[in-house]
Every structure is written in C-alpha cells, then in structure tokens.
C-alpha cells in the first residue's frame, strides 16, 4: 500500500494545483485571468501555486503584451505533463484497490 501512495506527486497535493494542471492538460496555453475565473481563487493564492509549479519546471510561463496590457499565459512542460499523468495513474490505482 505504501508503495502506491509513493507514486502520488507531492507537488499536486493542493486543489488549486490539480486544477491548474487539469486546465493545462487540455489547453495549449491558458492566461492568468481564465485560470482564476475557472478555479475561482484569489490572485495571490493562484500566483503562489503557479510559482511553485514553475519552480518545479512543470509549467512554462510566457509573458507578453497585448496592446499595452501585460498578459501572462501558462502552458505545460514535457516534465509537467508526464508528472501529472503519473499522478493521475496513481490516483486511479489507489481507487482500483
């Protein structure tokens, strides 16, 4: 039993991070505002979770200007996609038990 739990990625322990990864799995790239609205979280809360995922190099951050407004969008890195798939598999295995 302990072995299976070991496959769960600590980086995805929070609800917000699971939400971010889920959105990025099915979209090429998503901007900050869209993530915020979909997950219904505060700016600061979301920013800190995004920073944590960026630090683990699971997500790629792209900053650009649309007109005069700064726009930050996020996409999944190869490692991030792999890690999240593993995490999902681990969750499914746990339920299958």
């Amino acid at each position: 039993m302990k072995n299976i739990i070991a496959h769960l990625d600590k980086a995805f322990e929070s609800r917000v991070r699971l939400g971010i990864m889920s959105m990025l799995m099915v979209n090429d790239s998503v901007d900050f505002k869209t993530i915020k609205e979909t997950l219904d979280v505060s700016d600061g809360n979301l920013a800190s979770h995004l920073a944590a995922l960026e630090k683990k190099e699971y997500i790629i951050v792209t900053k650009q200007f649309i007109g005069k407004k700064p726009n930050t969008s996020y996409s999944l890195s190869k490692e991030g996609r792999l890690a999240f798939k593993k995490h999902l598999q681990a969750l499914e295995d746990l339920i299958g038990k």
């Binding site: 609800r15 699971l18 939400g19 889920s22 959105m23 799995m25 099915v26 979209n27 998503v30 869209t34 609205e37 979909t38 997950l39 219904d40 999902l88 969750l91 499914e92 746990l94 339920i95 038990k97």
Partner: protein
C-alpha cells in the same frame, strides 16, 4: 476507505475542470424549446400567407417581390425571438454556473458555429439571386446541421446528434421539392423542441 472517496472526488473534480475549460457547458435547453416554438409560429404564418396568395400569384407576377418581403420579415422575426430568448436563458444559466457567456469557451463555440452558418447564409443568398428559392429550406437545414456538428466539439456534445438530424432532413428536403416549408418546420421547429426538452431534463434541472 475514507482516503478512497477523497481520491475519487479528486479525479471527478479533475475531469470536471478539464470539461469546463474546453467546452461551453451553459447552453440552455429552454432556449432550444423557445427557438422551436418561434420557428413553428413563423412556418405557420408563412403557410397561411402563401396559401392565401397562391391564386393571386398566378395572376400577377408582380406580387413576387411582395411575397419575398413578407417571408424575409417573417424569418427575421423568428430569428430575433429565437436569438433573444436563447441568449437570455443561456446567460441566465451561465450566471448560475458561475461562467460568463463571452468567456474564451463561449466565443470559441460561437465562432465555430458561425463559420458554417455564415457560409450557408451567403450561399443561400447567391442561390436566391439565381432564382433557386425552392432550395432555400434545404440549404438552411444542411448548413445549420454542419454548424452544430462543428460547434459540438466546444459545447455539450449532444448537439452533434441534432446536427445529424438537420442534415438528413435538409437532404430529404432537397429531394422532395415542394415540401420545403414542411421540412423547415420539422427541422427548426419540432426538432428544436424535442432536443431542447431532452437537454432541459438532462442538464438544466440537475
């Protein structure tokens, strides 16, 4: 055991978020019902008008412009009622779901619905210009069906089946010329009401 339900909940939430961030899920079933009723009303008005005109039509060719004017006005009113109530119910449902109508998913759905629809509209006008009025109901049904199938990737997947039905009706209508109005009434009226009712009980009341 308690851990299990927790993991299950997590997986369900992941699936929900993936769905929510790719599809516009607030399409209201009631808007389909209203659009269907409006279409039936419009078809009935057109039928009444045409059957009272047929005799006169044979006598004066000059009335043709008048007939077209009436039908155009009729179709326009149906469109206004359908879009008006459709938006109203959909925006209301989106609000309830905490989704905005014009978020990225909503716009993506509208664009994908709009491309085949606009193509069909332009094509229909060209056919009309060449005098092919009898093909209009068929063109409207076929292109509307294609538009629904195209948009189904970005909203409730069920509209794909409505799209298939519209295309079949449209092709039948092109074959059985003379029953255009009847096919049109079935496609835009009856099918919308049936589909809208099913959607309402499947999604809206949950």
């Amino acid at each position: 055991m308690e851990k299990d339900t927790q993991h299950l909940e997590q997986l369900a939430e992941i699936r929900d978020i993936m769905n929510k961030s790719t599809r516009f899920l607030s399409l209201s079933g009631l808007s389909g019902v209203v659009a269907g009723i409006a279409a039936l009303g419009g078809a009935w008005a057109a039928h009444e008008y045409l059957s009272s005109r047929v005799f006169v039509n044979y006598l004066y060719n000059g009335t043709q412009a008048e007939v077209i004017q009436f039908l155009a006005l009729d179709a326009f009113l149906v469109l206004i009622v359908a879009i008006g109530f459709g938006s109203l119910f959909t925006i209301r449902k989106a609000k309830k779901n905490g989704q905005r109508m014009f978020n990225k998913m909503g716009i993506r759905m509208l664009v994908n619905l709009g491309i085949p629809l606009a193509t069909g509209g332009a094509f229909g006008l060209i056919v009309m210009y060449h005098g092919g009025y009898f093909l209009l109901p068929s063109i409207m049904l076929v292109f509307y069906g294609l538009a629904l199938i195209n948009a189904s990737k970005y909203t409730l997947e069920d509209i794909r089946y409505l799209g298939y039905c519209e295309i079949v009706l449209g092709l039948l209508s092109a074959w059985f010329i003379g029953y255009g109005l009847l096919f049109w009434a079935i496609g835009f009226g009856v099918l919308h009401i049936v589909y809208g009712t099913i959607m309402h009980f499947k999604y809206d009341r949950a």
